[in-house]
Symmetry: C2
Subunit: 681 residues, 2 copies
């Protein structure tokens, strides 16, 4: 008779094992990651599994709870002392006795701390670089005078299979005391970054220590977002965000590089500022959850190249001019202490690789999260900022570039533009008949034409237009026929509506006739055209490279993408034509990618390999950029059709009112200015 | 026709290579280590070799200078700019054109610093853990936006074969500047401790950097000895020694452990003291030679277990009592900076493993240097101190133990004993007829009965008896019949000589009738008997373990061994019978072992494996120790014959005068006192 068949879900891995094999052992042999801190002694409770009972015809398995061994004394003891939910088994104790389907519950969470709902609740298969290993160590013996640390290493090798272990310096003076405190039972934290890497002993506690945490952090130019993650469950325990304090040295990236170039102490000051901000966030998430800083054992950081470099203490000056040379593009391994973070002394830091001088570790992390390289459909991943980072591809081939959009999308360079803050207009609709607008501001859910809006708005006032508002108002102006295909405000409409007003030789649209007066000027429209043309031209270069004329899916990463309506982005021609249902915002995908690399070290190898394979396009060096740019100045585009958009939205007839030449000039000026200047107003 | 045959000396490795193969390449393929910093560009001059011309019938080779290619332009250029001695070739440029015998000169020393004659001029085959690698790095390219560091790593892998390189943190902020200073040519220092280990980039210089140094240091309880070694030639450049400043916390090891136990800050103070002393010595050797601290890239430290632990910042309290548990016995990898040494920021530290709680890394290093495990003859290696460290064995099997000799051999516990210092009696002869002595003191080469001695001695006075003096005087008293086989001073001789005087119930021998009066009392003889019996009993236990009744060679390591006359040591029965020609002092063998591990990382693996294989005997646990001890109280021994000694020295007839029981009691007291106490007076 054949050995029992065991199928693990959700991985689907399966194999036959002799009756009596512990479920944990079967999982290990199949490469299914089941956490266990105590090494099968039935005391940590981390290895819980559930039987899925029933007929699994597809697999030829009839599974039942009693196809595992009856609950034994170890499990009984654990269930009495702790809280073992009905149906849960300890896989170290339960043995295989018949065909069975085993579910690895991804939510196993012992001694649960306060769990805050995180923005993204995706849970990933765990294979962390840091593992807790409970061991019982032989006592010293004069006949075998091996050192305490050496016997500890032997025990770890015997029970956990880690050989040739390196030991962190800070542990040497502590080992003897901890072993004696724990009466020769201790929990060791072993860091092993890759399957072939050398393991390191990084932390040690007396007795059973059942808590291990990690940090996933995205250092943005504007915002730093940090997640505290349980390495034992993979769950986000708390998240926190803060403004990047480097803003006081310069609003955008290039002004911070300039600050470093002009101030000898500038680099150090900015490095210290960002490290302190991250450390403060660690304090926040620890304070909120009661997690000890000392239990933080691993961390993954991502950021754009300049943030990446400044965080590591590297002068970013080289990134300020051609050839935009990164000091380091590959993955970086460091220590929390080396980066001035108060964590466990042995805490490791991993930084995801950067793709290119303007396509950072954040873009790489977003790529890891969204996985264009893991699927056959052609995916476009865009992170819009002062420089847009663009990744395009599928499982066969991935290309990437950055494009100098400038700060218009963030409300800068716009006459009534402002940061997204209460009082800022974020949604706009224009009646094509009357040309009358209605809008929403941040701070109330009411439209401006709804009852109670005026009262609701008194709290904040109506103060300007934020990034998503500017996209919508320009798109709605286009859909309402106020601006032409080539982006010119139609002055002839002044006869139909008082909202069209002359400003010197050009015309503006009055969005809110209050104090302050909020208008969209011809220059504002031009600024948006230049920004969106730069983005689209970059995307087109990548499409050229792959020889494709359409994409299957579009993902907006980052804060900007979370607030804009994909439809309006497409109406303006920021992005190529695509089925609207397949266009979505994915929030802080970079942070998600960092979490993935934190909870599963295989993702580190995946993104390292992907980044190596990604073909990098330097837009500034591509002759066709200019042509694409000029065509993209038109709304949505002078050349490219938008058939799927046209199915969803009634696009106006093409009309041109002249001025495209101006746009072309603007583009020429912008390109000629070089990268260091292009981010400046 | 067969390819040319190439034989490398002194290794004797040989192989056939196609004509045109560079000699350096042939050496690499055969595993012959030839240094090269510039990677075959003919600029560093480190890869020099010589042709041995002539008939080598045994190897079937007729070798001649012109069996290498003629001197090419690279060598010509080097010879003109630098100093290439006649007959020397650059093995990167010279190619094999016919059968040839190649000598790797071990003295290759470019840009030679001042070379001080070291105590030990042995030169070892080099294979250092740190290697200098000159590389030319691709300039940044917008089309291939790999980071500067990543291109550097690629270049190192391409030219030097190191893959998957880790990078020291401190280099991240420096890489870009150094690459640009060197105009994309740099010298990288790569640390790789083992053939399978992961290489690390630890230092980087612009252009060609042709200097790399290491430290080999033996931290003794009394003295710290440090060698500065060129990693590129393997030669000792300078040596320095200093008293261990921990002496102010306690004269011997156990009183230092007591100090730690009684003073909360004691451990830190002693760690700081020894680290500062080492750092000061580094300053001394650098100052003397003009070597920059920044060029020190590797270091090997050895010491007894308590020094080893204190240097690493580990509390040695556990070593003060049974079971004498070492915190760490295996090899330790650390960094210079972590140990408060001012060296290159990337400087690595390696500590040779300890054998047991009382047999330290110093004994392991001495084992490495003398190599009992590398030969078939049975070698006894003894390092006499407060605890004697004893290693015995051959290529088949090695055993080790420590034995509690106490401080008598160092002149303590002796009524007229003193440290070895000017004025101390160090050599003694006694006329067996007249019982009149003559002696030498430290500070003059004259014997006390020679003309001019009195004048020479006025500078220092005649102040006492040092360790080697006490060995000689007791041995000479035995040879002259003044003391019996069982160590009793023969009072009946008082009738023959006024030098035999009564002191209460026992008798003394007047060695110097001056001020101070220097006598050897019955208690002094007893103290020496106890010490030597402990040493001999330890040796006998190891001989029992191996089932042998004699040894082929005896090596005394350490300062004590350097000053005593092996003949007298054997007359007293400190050591077993052995041909006198095969007994020798080997000086600071521990320091030599440290140097070996520094210049050739294979020696690290060798001693790690040897230490693992050494069988450790805890003398306190062996029932037969007491029997051996009692027998060894006799001179030279109650049971064991000394036939080879008898061939060289006329031993007196055995006579006993009683008192052996006393000796037995003394031994019993000593053993019962436990290890912590046995080192105290």
């Amino acid at each position: 008779m054949a050995d029992p068949l065991v199928l693990f879900m959700p991985s689907g891995k399966r194999g036959r094992f002799p009756a009596g094999t512990p479920v944990l052992e079967a999982a290990r042999q199949l490469g299914v990651y089941v956490e266990s801190v105590c090494g099968g002694r039935g005391i940590c409770g981390r290895c819980q599994v559930e039987v899925q009972a029933g007929q699994f015809a597809k697999h030829g398995i009839t599974s039942a709870a009693d196809h595992l061994s009856p609950v034994g004394p170890k499990e009984q003891r654990y269930a009495e002392k702790r809280d073992l939910k009905p149906g849960r088994r300890l896989s170290c104790s339960a043995t295989v006795e018949g065909d069975v389907v085993i579910d690895i519950p991804l939510d196993v969470q012992i001694n649960a701390q306060i769990i805050r709902k995180a923005a993204d609740t995706r849970v990933f298969e765990r294979k962390p670089a840091v593992q807790l290993c409970y061991v019982e160590v032989e006592e010293p013996d004069m006949h075998k005078p091996l050192g305490d640390l050496d016997r500890l290493k032997d025990a770890i090798e015997r029970d956990w299979g880690f050989s040739n272990i390196l030991v962190d310096q800070h542990l040497f003076p502590q080992v003897q005391k901890i072993l004696r405190q724990g009466e020769w039972a201790v929990t060791a934290a072993i860091h092993k970054d890759s399957d072939t890497g050398q393991p390191s002993l990084i932390a040690l506690w007396p007795g059973l220590h059942n808590e291990a945490y990690g940090l996933a952090c995205d250092i943005g130019s504007t915002t730093i977002a940090l997640h505290l993650v349980s390495l034992l469950s993979g769950r986000v325990i708390a998240s926190a965000g803060a403004s990047n304090p480097q803003i006081r040295f310069g609003e955008d990236l290039m002004s911070r590089v300039s600050y470093v170039m002009m101030n000898p102490e500038g680099r150090e000051a900015m490095t210290a500022a960002v490290r302190k901000a991250v450390d403060d966030l660690i304090g926040d998430v620890c304070g909120e959850t009661g997690v000890h800083r000392n239990d933080i054992l691993d961390a993954v950081f991502v950021g754009n190249p300049i943030m990446h470099h400044l965080f590591l203490g590297i002068d970013p000056t080289e990134l300020g001019g051609a050839p935009f040379a990164l000091a380091v593009s590959g993955a970086v391994h460091s220590w929390g202490g080396q980066l001035d973070l108060e964590t466990n002394e042995g805490c490791r830091v991993y930084m995801i690789p950067c793709i290119a001088g303007h396509v950072g570790a954040d873009a790489a992390a977003a790529t890891l999260a969204e996985g264009p390289h893991r699927q056959d459909e052609m995916m476009l991943l865009v992170d819009v900022g002062t420089n847009a980072e663009i990744v395009l591809g599928n499982s066969e081939r991935v290309v990437a570039a950055s494009s100098p959009t400038g700060p218009a999308f963030e409300g800068a360079e716009i006459s009534s533009g402002q940061r997204a803050a209460p009082g800022a207009i974020e949604r706009v609709r224009i009646d094509p008949e009357t040309l009358e607008p209605r809008f929403k501001i941040i701070g109330t859910e009411l439209w401006s034409n709804e009852e109670g809006f005026a009262r609701a708005a008194t709290a904040t006032g109506i103060t300007g237009i934020c990034g998503s508002g500017i996209i919508e108002v320009v798109a709605e102006m286009f859909l309402a026929g106020i601006i032409s295909t080539d982006g010119v405000v139609d002055g002839s409409l002044a006869a139909r509506s008082p909202r069209i007003t002359a400003t010197g030789r050009t015309f503006s649209y009055v969005l809110h006739d209050g104090d302050p007066l909020i208008t969209v000027t011809q220059n504002d429209v031009r600024a948006i055209q230049l920004a969106k043309a730069a983005l689209y031209a970059g995307i087109k270069l990548l499409m050229d490279k792959l020889g494709i004329d359409h994409v299957d899916r579009i993902r907006f990463a980052g804060a900007f993408g979370s607030f804009i309506d994909p439809k309006y982005a497409m109406v303006l021609g920021l992005i190529p034509d695509c089925e609207l249902a397949n266009v979505s915002a994915v929030g802080n995908a970079a942070g998600t990618g960092a979490r993935m690399a934190l909870v599963n070290r295989d993702y580190r190898r995946e993104i390292e390999g992907t980044v190596r394979a990604i073909e990098k396009i330097e837009t500034a060096l591509e002759a066709k950029f200019q042509d694409h740019f000029v065509a993209a100045m038109a709304l949505p585009n002078k050349i490219d059709p938008f058939p799927q958009l046209a199915n969803a939205v009634k696009l106006p007839e093409r009309k041109t009112l002249g001025g495209a030449e101006d746009a072309g000039d603007g583009a020429g000026r912008r390109r000629g200015g070089g990268r260091r200047e292009r981010a400046r107003p």
